[in-house]
Amino acid sequence: MSSTLVAATAPAIEAHGLTKRFGDVLALDRLDLAVPAGSVFGFLGPNGAGKTTTLRILAGLGHASAGSAVVAGVAVGGGGTELAGRIGYLDQDPRFYGWMTGRELLTFVGRAYGLAGSALSSRVDEVLETVGLADAARRRIGGYSGGMRQRLGVGQALLPRPAVLFLDEPVSALDPEGRRDVLALVGSLGGRATVFMSTHILNDVERVCDRVAILDHGRLVTDGPIDELLARHARPILELDPEPGQADAVARLAGALRVAAWTREVREEHGMLRVVVTDAEQAAAEGLLLVVAAGVRLARYERVRPTLEDVFLQLVGAEAPDPEAVA
């Protein structure tokens, strides 16, 4: 096998037994990870799972207590500038020099990566346009809103066209429009760069990522392509949408569903019942009978495709991150 082929098929990010201790606290427990080159990788987990710790180690800001990692062909923790020259990094709460303007900051970043002259100024213009800050480019960053700072953060990470882009909660401070734009941008990078994105927003992950890893208490719970995870872990879901004004009857139905042998979990979400089913055939036979017995009038009764949130809940067993809202 030629070395070129090896390079093309080698994972962009590889971690072996990555461990991090903060005193007595085990923040990361023997993490093994292989992120294929060109993928948009979602890194999920509840608060304190170790996501940011992982990102900081992989970006060269923190040190692993044990284990090793290779990013874009460079061993992490070796010192020097080789790793930084191949990555873009966006912090969870990006902070920049308030006295600089947005354009000055991007120019500064471009120079750090060796850009100069017209190549630098045209790249800065392009990035400002891409992240929607062209109009604010000459304003001091100190006067930027949180959302503008986050857009600038995405811009500075993208500017050098990195082989690997680390994004820690890249859309957490953005309004819906900004979120849509940045996610579209992140999604479009697939195939050209490897994106490693940590987020609490599961819908965003489903929208743009092709692969995910779920981390809990510093341990990798599962990883793989989203469709594969859904096929592997997700159980059928029934959604029951009752007509309004039947609170007692709906409570009766929820109770009956909870004790049924073919259900695993019944969640009440915004007046709707979401039932995780363990036996689809039994559910098909008995589900509607329970509805009728409880006297509930339904606007909708549907078997739906399980979501990443369902998989997350099943695997982590904790409260899921809000699928929509900012954590």
């Binding site: 900081r56 970006a59 060269g60 800001l61 923190g62 040190h63 010192g79 020097g80 500038t81 080789e82 930084a84 020259g85 990555i87 873009g88 990094y89 912090d91 709460d93 990006p94 902070r95 920049f96 020099y97 006295w99 600089m100 500064f108 970043v109 120079r111 750090a112 990566y113 060796g114 500075q156």
Partner: protein, 253 residues
């Protein structure tokens, strides 16, 4: 030291844009200016305020008083300013998160530390030079012109004493994540150095002892013990910055 030039330019622009450079230079200029003025007119001021009560009690001012006032002012306010401008240099960048932004770029940690140390040294050098120049001019106007070479050497020694304080503060700023802690540690160490300066033998090598040597040099007298204290203080500055780099090299950001 990849990125050193880029970071040094950034540090200097930051000093100008955030008004740190103009403000520090202005304060030092004021210290340089008022030192000879204060020395020259203190007797008149006290006698005027005292309504004749202190008539003849204060001796007529001499050029040495202007120099003593200058080193006293730099020793109090200059040291405080050196601590204030240095204590947040690295700690604040770590606190705010801008260090994480910088260190994920192809910039070495050595360049980060070196550019900051050099920029602070240059800031204090400019400020001390301006203060010294104004002090020399006003001393010449109000007393007599001092030998220029000796006075320049005295100003350089004064800068060296401030550089020692700044280097110590810089090390504390690298070692901690809090500007206040860094400032407190540096101030405590400076007070300790002041106490050590009273000890025979070791005292002559403390940064505060450089002021006495500066006073003699300014008046054209070469002190008996000069090279040793200079070498010791320069070595301290280099060691402190080297230790800061070594500490920062393996630090979690």
């Amino acid at each position: 030291m990849t990125g050193f030039g880029l970071l040094l330019r950034k540090e200097i622009r930051e000093q100008v844009r955030t008004m740190r450079l103009p403000v520090v230079v202005a304060v030092f200029a004021m210290l340089g200016l008022i030192s000879p003025v204060f020395a020259r007119y203190i007797r008149e001021i006290v006698e005027a305020v005292g309504g004749g009560q202190f008539q003849g009690m204060i001796p007529a001012p001499v050029v040495g008083d202007a120099l003593a006032q200058f080193t006293k002012n730099i020793g109090q306010f200059g040291v405080l300013i050196a601590i204030l401008v240095t204590m947040g240099s690295v700690a604040a960048e770590k606190e705010r998160g801008t260090a994480a932004f910088l260190l994920t770029k192809p910039i070495t940690r050595g360049a980060f530390v070196g550019a900051k140390a050099l920029a602070i040294g240059a800031l204090l050098a400019i400020a001390t030079a301006v203060a010294g120049a104004l002090c020399w001019v006003y001393t010449a106007l109000l007393f007599e012109p001092l030998p220029l070479a000796g006075f320049s050497a005295a100003v350089a020694l004064t800068w060296l004493s401030l550089a020692v304080v700044a280097a110590l503060t810089f090390l504390a700023s690298v070692a901690t994540r809090s500007s206040l802690v860094a400032g407190g540690v540096a101030f405590g160490a400076f007070v300790a150095a002041g106490i050590l300066a009273a000890l025979p033998g070791v005292g002559a090598y403390m940064p505060t002892s450089l002021w006495g040597a500066a006073g003699l040099l300014a008046q054209g007298t070469v002190p008996d013990l000069l090279v040793g204290p200079i070498v010791a203080n320069v070595a301290f500055v280099i060691a402190a910055i080297g230790l800061a780099w070594w500490t920062f090299r393996g630090q979690e950001i």
